[in-house]
């Protein structure tokens, strides 16, 4: 423990500093944030460790038994206790497919967000710091793209790239194509946010100081400006993860996303949609619930983060 000028003791180690921070204080005070954080963490663990945690391996044909196909959830008559949420038409355990499906959804979502953050932040930094025609070209491109809904862009890119690839590679490359499509469709938002904050930061004294001592502009951008503009970007990225998961699910639902061999939540819903009329509601309901819970939790977490990082509301 060290005493600073105010006589307040502050812990030194990292974990202690986290627990002592304003952010964590506002987190503790907000039950919605705590609940959604717990839900998100459960999803991440369930999805991340699906191969070890899932009760069954739905993609191991040897473990499937067609006699067990279309079993209702365990608490309903005819349900089997070993299939908590029932099975689909091929006898795959719904709970396990959801865990594996969230894994695919989250991987695609995270990669897409990282992709668009990298592209958006670097173009935004360049545009905001350099100004002039660099700014004009980058922001004009962003404006043109913002005029068109992201989902349409993602659909278009997905369609075009999928056709470009040779037939035998389409299935294995589908996930990467999807990440690219969603990532490209979202970058202008990050570029705009970054550009706005960069233009504010650029005129501050520390940047002028760095310029005076002859630091290379790119180094100034990376080392000095970048850390100061990451706050708003982080908020956007959190909300962007929810959006990316929805976009992924939508594209997969439309049948242009990930292939059925590695189903994501959207693919599961698409598959379940075929059984909507035959009364096997559990095949579609549980993936829907999982998707909505995940998106809601991440959204609420993003909302909280936005309020917590907003100095006006402190």
């Amino acid at each position: 423990m060290a005493e600073n000028q105010l006589g307040v003791t502050r812990p030194h180690d990292l974990w202690g500093r986290i627990l002592d921070s304003d952010l964590f204080y506002s987190f503790k005070r907000n039950p919605v944030a705590v609940v959604s954080a717990i839900a998100t963490v459960i999803f991440f663990i369930g999805a991340g460790f699906a191969p070890w945690l899932a009760p069954h391996n739905p993609f191991d044909p040897a473990s499937l038994d067609l006699m067990e196909a279309s079993t209702p959830p365990a608490w309903i008559e005819d349900g089997m206790s070993k299939f908590l949420l029932g099975t689909d038409d091929q006898g795959r355990d719904i709970l396990s497919t959801i865990m594996y499906g969230s894994r695919v959804s989250l991987i695609v979502g995270f990669s897409a967000v990282i992709f668009s953050v990298v592209v958006g932040v670097s173009t935004g930094l360049l545009a905001g710091y350099l100004g002039g025609w660099t700014d004009a070209v980058i922001m004009r491109a962003a404006d043109v793209q913002l005029a068109i809904p992201a989902i349409l862009i993602a659909l278009m890119i997905n369609g075009v790239v999928a056709i470009l690839l040779p037939r035998n590679m389409q299935v294995e490359m589908a996930v990467y194509v999807l990440i690219l499509a969603i990532g490209v469709s979202e970058w202008p938002k990050y570029a705009r946010v970054t550009r706005g904050s960069t233009m504010v930061e650029r005129n501050k004294e520390y940047v002028a100081a760095a310029q005076v001592i002859g630091v290379h502009p790119f180094l100034i951008m990376l080392r000095h400006v970048l850390p100061n503009v990451m706050g708003p970007v982080l908020v956007f990225a959190t909300l962007g993860l929810a959006l990316a998961v929805i976009t992924e699910a939508t594209l997969s639902f439309l049948g242009v996303g990930v292939p059925p061999t590695t189903p994501s939540l959207g693919t599961l819903i698409r598959i379940g949609n075929n059984y909507l009329f035959s009364g096997e509601w559990w095949i579609i309901l549980f993936p829907c619930v999982a998707l909505v819970t995940l998106v809601l939790a991440v959204n609420l977490l993003g909302d909280w983060l936005r309020d917590a990082l907003n100095p006006k509301l402190r």
Partner: protein, 313 residues
């Protein structure tokens, strides 16, 4: 707009070999070559592109590789269905979203406002297709009162086929339009609400109250009028995204519109259909943006004043 249409066609012009998709595995090399000649795919890129642009100007987009019919016909056939769906949804979202937004803005603490807000959270979170599936499950599978696909009986008026003149058509449009409208409605409601809350704090509203004006005049004449500029921007842009999201809604409800056509075309690499759809959507987007810009001048007197001052100088 030119950018969008150029890019969309240039992309599509380079990609894929539709012949591969059309003919079976057994087709001989000669058959393929003959087919490529028929489709004009062997001409140089610039000629193909010039032909495309020339034809596009006249509303001619070539022949669908898959269905073997002129794309213009296909689109014209499908367009009324999509437009009816989009217009009904737009009306729904604007005429429900704005009043709800005003109400929640004026009375932020009433229980009705709170339930609207909770509902709007659901509207933002639920993906469009999940809403659609939910509605189908409740009203078509569970209660069996609404049809789950198609658009009912359509009546042909000239080239425009409308489903709005038959009872079955109206029944069929309820669920798709609600599905499509819900997301936009919540966006509009939240926007109007936050704008109203902002405006209500300004000095001129306090002054209006001090003058003893009736609440109705303050709320609608003074407050709401000043929220209109951002609201019109967002509503205008969202009309565009209604068209984009109609792809999803149409797929869920098997609505025979352009979006459904587009998704099928994507699946079969049917390039003329895809290009035509994208160009058409680009045209619609540009017209909406133009219309919104013009509307600014109608709504915001400050812009008009600036113009006259500038002209005077």
């Amino acid at each position: 707009m030119v950018v969008v249409s150029l890019v969309s066609f240039m992309l599509f012009n380079f990609v894929g070999d539709p012949v591969d998709n059309m003919v079976g595995q057994e087709a001989s090399y000669e058959e393929r070559v003959a087919m490529r000649d028929n489709l004009g795919l062997n001409d140089p890129f610039l000629i193909q592109f010039g032909r495309f642009m020339g034809n596009a100007m006249q509303g001619e987009f070539g022949i669908s590789y898959r269905i073997q019919r002129p794309v213009a016909d296909l689109i014209a056939e499908r367009m009324p269905a999509t437009l009816e769906l989009v217009i009904i949804s737009a009306i729904l979202s604007v005429f429900l979203g704005i009043p709800m937004g005003i109400y929640t803005g004026i009375k932020p603490n009433s229980w009705l406002s709170r339930s609207f807000l909770v509902g709007s959270l659901v509207g933002v979170t639920l993906p469009t297709f999940v809403i659609g599936i939910l509605l189908i499950y409740i009203f078509a599978v569970g209660l069996g009162i609404l049809p789950s696909f198609g658009r009912g009986e359509a009546i042909q008026i000239g080239w425009w086929s409308t489903g709005l003149l038959t009872a079955s058509g109206w029944k069929a449009i309820i669920m798709p339009s609600v599905t499509l409208a819900l997301f936009q409605m919540t966006i509009i409601m939240r926007l109007v609400r936050s704008e109203m809350l902002e405006v209500m704090r300004t000095d001129y509203i306090k002054f209006a109250r001090a003058r003893g004006l009736p609440n109705r005049t303050i709320n609608f004449g003074h407050a709401f009028k000043n929220t209109l500029v951002p609201v019109i921007t967002i509503v205008g842009l969202n009309l565009g995204s209604l068209i984009a999201f109609s792809i999803i809604t149409e797929t869920v409800f098997q609505w025979p519109g352009m979006g459904f056509l587009f998704i099928q075309a994507v699946g079969f690499a049917d390039i003329p259909v895809m290009a035509a759809y994208l160009v058409l959507v680009a045209v619609i987007f540009v017209s909406i943006n133009l219309f919104v810009d013009i509307l600014y001048f109608v709504v915001d007197p400050r812009l008009r004043v600036d113009k006259t001052v500038a002209a005077g100088n």
